[in-house]
């Protein structure tokens, strides 16, 4: 159980003027799993390598349980990193790979054998110890890499895109396995990912990093309900952005006047709401109702995406396919935007 604090962590690579990571500050609770989320090149892996001790920060501090670890060598940090491409040592057996960290800590061979068997059991790979990594599937290799990191019971576990090399159906299993083991062993974990769904499903809190800067550090649902800015909303799949003026609990824009939830600030801003929160039909109380014309209908399988025109403004809505079976481009219908679904950035 380790409490992690990152203060103004900055990295400027030699020969570059713009920082790869710019004053990142995070507070990670003991046993918490957080995700560093962002597109490739946003600085999230740079941050992780600095925590692991594989990269020297240009400025800032990293503290484990209020002790700065910047002077500790990677092997003494208590932070173990699992790389994206699993990096199993090819000439060692699976058991030797998993036991590697214990061997480096001079653990007795008998105990290594026992703990390796136990760990392989936990990642659901019993009786695989004698095999060579090359004889394993991608998903199995990733689980061995996870076992190899967890067996040393690290203070902090660092996972770099642990699911990105896996097929879709393996991803769900691996996701649940990581989450279960992490909760079970109560290891403070930092996950790096570019996949917002992965971050949202796995993490207790998500830190969104764009172009080296921390944009928002919050619980996953906040990124949908209260995004910090338009870029955040877009990163999380936001499609509707209408400029206008927020004033006394209502928003004036090209769509007309809409009633906002209570805690929205006053001033010029951009109204946003998620496509899946657009409702068809008349609202019970008559608020935030709009008349829309259908521009396009795209069947997505379990959902249907509508492109709607409201007073020359295009909106997107994601609805249940059963509700729009009879609709075609050119038709008009009533929609409404529930007050609680609106947010101004």
């Amino acid at each position: 159980m380790t409490h992690v604090r990152i203060d103004d962590l900055t990295k400027i690579y030699p020969g570059s003027t713009t920082p790869a990571l710019d004053h990142l500050s995070l507070d990670i609770g003991s046993g918490e799993l957080i995700a560093l989320l962002g597109p490739s090149g946003c600085g999230k892996t740079t941050a992780m390598k600095m925590i692991a001790g594989l990269l020297e920060p240009s400025a800032g501090d990293i503290r484990f349980d209020d002790r700065s670890i910047l002077r500790d060598k990677p092997e003494h940090r208590g932070a173990v990193m699992v790389f994206q491409n699993h990096l199993l040592f090819p000439y060692m057996s699976v058991a030797e790979n998993v036991g590697f960290g214990l061997k480096m800590r001079r653990t007795a061979p008998a105990e290594i054998t026992r703990r390796v068997a136990d760990m392989l059991e936990r990642v659901k790979l019993p009786d695989m110890g004698a095999r060579k990594p090359a004889a394993l599937s991608g998903g199995q290799q990733q689980r061995v890499a996870l076992a190899r990191a967890l067996i040393v019971e690290p203070d902090v576990l660092l996972l770099d895109e642990p699911l990105s090399n896996l097929d879709a159906h393996l991803r769900f299993d691996m996701r649940d396995l990581i989450r279960d083991l992490q909760r079970d062993m109560a290891i403070t974990t930092i996950l790096v990912t570019h996949d917002q769904e992965e971050a949202v499903v796995m993490a207790d809190r998500v830190a969104l990093i764009l172009e080296g800067r921390l944009i928002q550090y919050d619980r996953p649902d906040a990124f949908y309900k209260r995004p910090a800015n338009e870029a955040t909303a877009r990163f999380f799949g936001g499609r509707n952005f209408i400029p206008g003026m927020s004033c006394d609990g209502s928003f004036d824009s090209a769509l007309g006047r809409l009633i906002l939830p209570k805690d929205v600030a006053t001033g010029p801003g951009t109204l946003t709401f998620r496509p899946e929160n657009v409702r068809l039909g008349m609202p019970a109380d008559g608020t935030n109702m709009l008349s829309a014309q259908i521009v396009d209908v795209v069947f997505l399988g379990s959902q249907t995406r509508l492109t709607l025109r409201v007073k020359d403004t295009l909106l997107e809505a994601i609805v249940n396919p059963n509700d729009v079976q009879a609709l075609a481009p050119g038709d008009t219908l009533s929609i409404h935007l529930p007050q609680s679904a609106l947010w101004v950035v």
Binding site: A52, G53, L54, K73, P74, E75, A79, V80, M81, F83, N85, L87, F89, Y91, F100, G101, M104, R105, R148, A149, V152, L158
Partner: protein, 274 residues
């Protein structure tokens, strides 16, 4: 085409093998016969009389062949060890990193293979006199690095150009010190290259004549020097016996490391640059 080669392809392959073997073995047969002959004169196909005298002389204390053998083994092992010590880090730098003047350094490492040894050694000789390294075994070992190091470095550069250093970062992260990381992660990955490079270094050092002669000043008598002495003195029988002894280590090393030379190993990839 694999598995269904025509009869001519098969014959051609067979013929090439035979020519290659004959080419390598044939010159050695007279030497082998000489070493057991008591006089062998034209037009006899085989000597009239056989004897072990040349061999007895060769392994006796008077001839100095065995002393020379141990000395040569020592010098070649020393040159190989130093080549590994210098060639592995140098190969890593050339194979993995980009830096200013890299192509110049590559050229300079290749230079001793291209420039004739006799030209280099005269310059080195005056330098070694100044450093007091002439006429000594240490001096000979050092000068052998000139031809051995290029092979070692190029083999290792080939190995390291296919090497992923994040394995080392992973080992460090799992708790391995830099030394243990090298022992458990780096070394097993590059060992085939070290074996192949070391083999070349050993054999190149083993066959040095002119460098040993000039720097050793005639006091460091390795097997090739001794062999040349006997060959020029007209003792064909003893020359034959020493030649057999001289070839021994090369053949032994080749047999021991043959599996690393199959071409499938990444270790020989560096020779693409030669």
């Amino acid at each position: 085409m694999i598995g269904q080669d025509g009869i001519w392809t098969k014959w051609f392959r067979y013929l090439t093998c035979v020519i290659l073997v004959v080419w390598l073995i044939l010159p050695l047969i007279p030497l082998a016969i000489w070493s057991f002959a008591r006089g062998w004169f034209f037009p006899d196909i085989l000597p009239q009389q056989w004897t072990m005298q040349a061999w007895q002389y060769a392994i006796s204390d008077i001839s100095g062949v065995l002393d020379s053998l141990w000395l040569t083994i020592g010098i070649s092992l020393g040159a190989t060890a130093l080549s590994i010590l210098v060639g592995v880090p140098a190969g890593r730098a050339l194979g993995m990193y980009e830096f200013r003047g890299k192509s110049v350094i590559e050229m300079m490492i290749l230079a001793p293979i291209i420039v004739p040894g006799i030209a280099v050694v005269l310059g080195v000789h005056s330098l070694f006199i100044w450093l007091g390294l002439t006429n000594s075994v240490q001096g000979v070992i050092l000068v052998h690095l000139i031809p051995t190091l290029p092979y070692m470095t190029l083999v290792m550069a080939g190995v390291f150009s296919n090497y992923d250093p994040t394995f080392e970062a992973q080992a460090r992260s799992l708790g391995a010190s830099p030394l243990k990381t090298f022992r458990y992660v780096t070394l097993p990955a590059i060992l085939p290259g070290i074996i192949v490079g070391g083999l070349f270094a050993f054999l190149v050092s083993w066959s040095q004549y002119i460098l040993t002669l000039v720097i050793g000043g005639g006091r460091v008598v390795t097997l090739p020097l001794l062999l040349f002495n006997f060959a020029t003195s007209g003792r064909n029988d003893i020359t034959g016996a020493i030649a057999m002894i001289y070839m021994g280590p090369g053949i032994l090393i080749l047999l021991l490391t043959a599996k690393h030379l199959s071409g499938r190993s990444g270790a020989v990839g560096g020779f693409g640059r030669l």
